[in-house]
Symmetry: C2
Subunit: 422 residues, 2 copies
Amino acid sequence: MALIVHKYGGTSMGSTERIGLVAKRVAKWARAGHQMVVVPSAMSGETNRLLALAKELAPQRQTKAYARELDMLASTGEQASVALLAIALQAEGMDAVSYTGWQVPIKTDSSFTKARIESIDDARVRADLAAGRVVIITGFQGIDADGNITTLGRGGSDTSAVAVAAAMKADECLIYTDVDGVYTTDPRVVAEARRLNTISFEEMLEMASLGSKVLQTRSVEFAGKYKVPVRVLSSFTPWDIDLQEEAASGTLITIEENVNMEQAVVSGIAFNRDEAKISLLGVPDTPGIAFKILSSVSAANIDVDMIIQNLSKDGKTDFSFTVHRNDYARALDVLQEQVAPALGASEVIGDPKICKVSIVGIGMRSHAGVASKMFESLSAEGINIQMISTSEIKVSVVIDEKYMELAVRALHKAFDLDAEAA
Amino acid sequence: MALIVHKYGGTSMGSTERIGLVAKRVAKWARAGHQMVVVPSAMSGETNRLLALAKELAPQRQTKAYARELDMLASTGEQASVALLAIALQAEGMDAVSYTGWQVPIKTDSSFTKARIESIDDARVRADLAAGRVVIITGFQGIDADGNITTLGRGGSDTSAVAVAAAMKADECLIYTDVDGVYTTDPRVVAEARRLNTISFEEMLEMASLGSKVLQTRSVEFAGKYKVPVRVLSSFTPWDIDLQEEAASGTLITIEENVNMEQAVVSGIAFNRDEAKISLLGVPDTPGIAFKILSSVSAANIDVDMIIQNLSKDGKTDFSFTVHRNDYARALDVLQEQVAPALGASEVIGDPKICKVSIVGIGMRSHAGVASKMFESLSAEGINIQMISTSEIKVSVVIDEKYMELAVRALHKAFDLDAEAA
């Protein structure tokens, strides 16, 4: 008998019919002898519906002032979900009880709309499990030290599920999603993309942060930090599929680095076309220059991703970075009107039509020449590399947006990830 | 500066546009220097929408088993409402904060779906009021001793508002509704019906329990018990109506019996066509007979309203009572199959096509002949009286349903309630 956490997304909870199917699946696991904790999202569309009402009332977008009330509002979506799933399980003949974040309680800090979990008290949940009940807990939300309802931000239910699994030392946290696992790259771009049976936390973290949106990044960090085995699997298999088969499906995000039976140097290719590139040319190369540039950008509430500083020449240097494409125009303004005049930079140039392509793999640590193989492969396709950034298990390049699919396909093949090679 | 509680129904909260108007009205009161607590209902239709989802999942109607989860579900409607109203007030430039029942906390017993309020801790609310904030509290719900969310049942937001007003010793509790006050009778039946400026709690209680559904009965009981001045007034006046004029509009339910300036013996005519009559004929007139009959009905979960036992004749008596029309067929079954054979009654007869018409008035206490004037007036219209029941401030009769409008109009005129007589 194991303690298992299931997480279901909004699509799985999208109608009473689908909620009924989730109940049947959970009941199957419970009847097999497992202690079951379930973390469902709000019914699909519900969170957007609620936030749209708030926007109608406060169109000025001063969302900061309303943040506490937005959390009060948005948290109702998950609360309705857990109650409905409990009713569905009871109708299925399974004893079940639902709890909100504050009832567990899941304690968070007071950063409304993007709170962080601080602690989870599992006493009440354990008592219910011991009494043979399925326990259903709201995702996405918690309670702060002053008794206010907080939410964890978009995708927060993944984090809630992993956090609950960590607090309870669950044997496994199963995240049921629209996809049937983690792929070597997006199958819509590369037909030969393969589902990975296992992936390490570090690789998953890089994949997630690089735009492979299977799991919320924070939930992966949590899983890695607390060593919670997380499995991403499809919510579209029939509910009455054999339990052993279901338990082995999808992709297991492992806590052990060396279980990667596939021995590939590179596990996957991630890409992201949401970024834009900005360069400051002819900046005097003096100490603290990077700080001066980035602090102005940061003060404008703009997040920076890749940062590159070229070698200095004649006491001048070029400084480039990428920002989210939505922040591009604003970042350009800040640099042109404030930073460039203050630093005496000769020119500010930018390009929103770029994309970032990355190879990710634990295997890179012990294999030399991975980066050069990447550059060679792109060069063979005639693709010019504009920026390069590396970490221990990742190499990212910025290239012209129009070459994105070509680059991903070429790298997928070059690193033996195509299905034929498996 | 007064402490004022406003309660708004689901229609007033029915759209973001209407919520915006509620915010403007509340802001007007706050800017006039009053400390404001607001108790809004769920947006109209929302509670029904949520409960319909539950019914789809558990069509077997075993609502008892699901009661805890139904409260978890239904309470989200009011939670969304308070957050939206807080946002609307903030957008209006007014500092505001919303609380759920458990955050206040409003403590109740554990009777899910029909909980009763046990205590309210107003410390947190008082602190906010002192800091100049409008405080918005969810109606309809509370928290039990085990930390479960409870709801007070349909119309429970009226009770929440009055209970909050009682706990905080508010100067007045204003209930904004679809009607502009309490009338001498239903204006749809009697065109000459007049709005009462004041009505006593006891009269209001009789009117409410007799089917004049302006306020939930329990809220009136609460108001009487804790001596909270409650005003029923229209939510359809323009929000920017002069505050003094608004404050004097509607009907004040008074705690003092003698403020009735209108000096009428009868304050209003109530009626109810939701009942059905059942008679057990030729029952042996032995001690405990009423108990034996009514305990069987009660065991079938059927509420009985009026009860009449005729004088005994030859050791036999006739026993009649009324039930809700929805329970009529079931009650008839119980009597025919269980009670009549057991007691040796000669016959069970019933009539669902009846109605109950009542005259209500504090003035009856000191005026004799009120009942006989009622009977005379009905007799003059050729209306046969089937049952009679009296209390200190009320006389009710059961008559043929088809005479209902005629009876109400005749009594309204006979007791000088017509508008011309005012």
